[in-house]
Amino acid sequence: MTLFPLPVGFLPLVDAAPLIVAAEMGFDHVESIALDLRRATSWSGLRDMVSFGQVLAAQMLSPMPVAAALGLGGVSVGLSAISVLSTNGEVIGISNRIADQLRERPNALAFDDAAAAGAALISVAGGPLRVGVPFPFSMHAELLYYWLSSLGLPAPSALEVRTVPPPLMAAAMASGEIDAFCVGEPWGSIAVEKNAGELLLAGCAIWPGAPEKILGVRTDLLGTIPEQLGALVRAVWHAGQWLDNPRNYTVACEILSSRTYLDVPSEIIDRSLTGHLLTSARGGTHMVHDFIGFSQTQPQERHAAWMADRLAGRLGLDRSAAVPAGRTQFAAAFHRHAVQAIPGYEPDLPRPDRLFDGRDLNIDLGE
């Protein structure tokens, strides 16, 4: 049997796990493809590698295909999300100075109360709150804008969301350039290890089940190599099921921590897989249920539509044009068709998308 070679790009993050596990545990070979994983250093780099065909697919932040459809970030090729790689897994961290001020506030550092933590953070800001995110088109940015504006912080006048590459996040915090950050693991835990700040909240406290990373491809490939991409979707699905089984956490940590992939101690990766987070250098710990998930792989059009609406609203684009343009970038039907070929596959029951303020993800799909 010949295996179809499939170059796929990733960033050294915990949520690249489905791709890494699919390659290491051989879920790709079962589907007659051979993953050739290429490590990159930036999201824009990954996007350009996909656009120009150096890789056929890549791990991407979930709003990236939507942003591309809206003509943001200077891409002209259409990108599609054929699978959700991970849900949640984000952490919000604050500088030591702000953490000291929050210690006085009831429930602000309880780690599970998004409303109390956000209100306290707003009250101590003293000027525009400056928050670092890895990329302008990211679930990190979307969660921050939603969370803080829902609590009454006007953006952009009082909220400055800045792009800071995660490796520089701790330094930016230490030099006082940012007050807080929202990043994926292992970067939150690394900031704690470096004593650059404390963790305030997990992304799942704002929107449980938010699609964090997706598997992005050039849209035209859905027509040219549908079989191979379908095989990739199935391989990633199997990896996601494997990863969400607690019995496999230890092995997964060891695989991810290797020098080829994340190159960080497995103990740090263990924190995000188990949800047992170390939140401050003085030893505070919190157990977060469903901190990160890998088995909700079905892309949902309403998620893409919501992101398109939020991006368009923030950047002054025509929202009625943005929503239909953005929503189809989540290739829901393609994914569904691919996973239905898995023997014994049963689709998950649809879950409501309930945000921290009790509201549902409210989006008019025009149907």
Partner: protein, 171 residues
């Protein structure tokens, strides 16, 4: 590029000051290593809400795809302010790509050399420990290291490094 009188160059080495430096210089074109994570910070400049007053567009969007592909394969990405004609971009990019390839080759060689040196130092130290602990000569110490590595299916350097760090704990 400077010698050819093509343009005025500024080099930004402190990546935490990248966007500030770009705002200060107001460049026509920004060239950045594709492997540089700070490239994502530049993406912010493409947004309308950016603090800069000059619109910046991503190079790969507006020029011919062949050129952009060549640049990306070489590991350089460029952000160009709207309006810089593509016939002016080509010589700049050509020079940058050539220069970049040369630097990359040197960087790879330097890293390989450094690693080889470090490995040799570790192996020498491990040999020293074995010679002292077991009263054997250098040749026998190296043979022992190599045999252990082969038996365990590991590299000599890994065995040596483990020995050195263990010895450090015991002393």
């Amino acid at each position: 590029m400077k010698n050819a009188g093509l343009c005025e160059l500024s080099v930004v080495s402190d990546m935490t000051r990248l966007t500030a430096a770009i705002a200060a210089h107001g460049p026509d074109i920004v060239l950045i290593d594709l492997d540089n994570p700070s490239r994502d910070a530049l993406e912010e400049l493409t947004l309308a809400s950016s603090p800069l007053d000059r619109p910046v567009a991503l190079f790969v969007d507006q020029s011919d795809a062949g050129l952009a592909k060549m640049a990306i394969e070489a590991g350089v990405s460029a952000y160009v302010v709207d309006g810089l004609r593509s016939d002016r971009i080509i010589p700049i990019l050509d020079a940058a790509v050539a220069r970049f390839n040369l630097f990359r080759k040197m960087r790879v060689e330097l890293n390989a050399t450094k690693r080889a040196l470090e490995e040799r130092k570790t192996i020498d130290r491990a040999k020293g420990i074995l010679m002292k602990a077991r009263g054997i000569d250098e040749e026998a110490a190296y043979a022992l290291l190599r045999r252990t590595a082969m038996d365990q299916g590991r590299k000599v350097i890994d065995v040596a490094a483990a020995l050195v760090s263990t010895a450090g704990l015991l002393s």
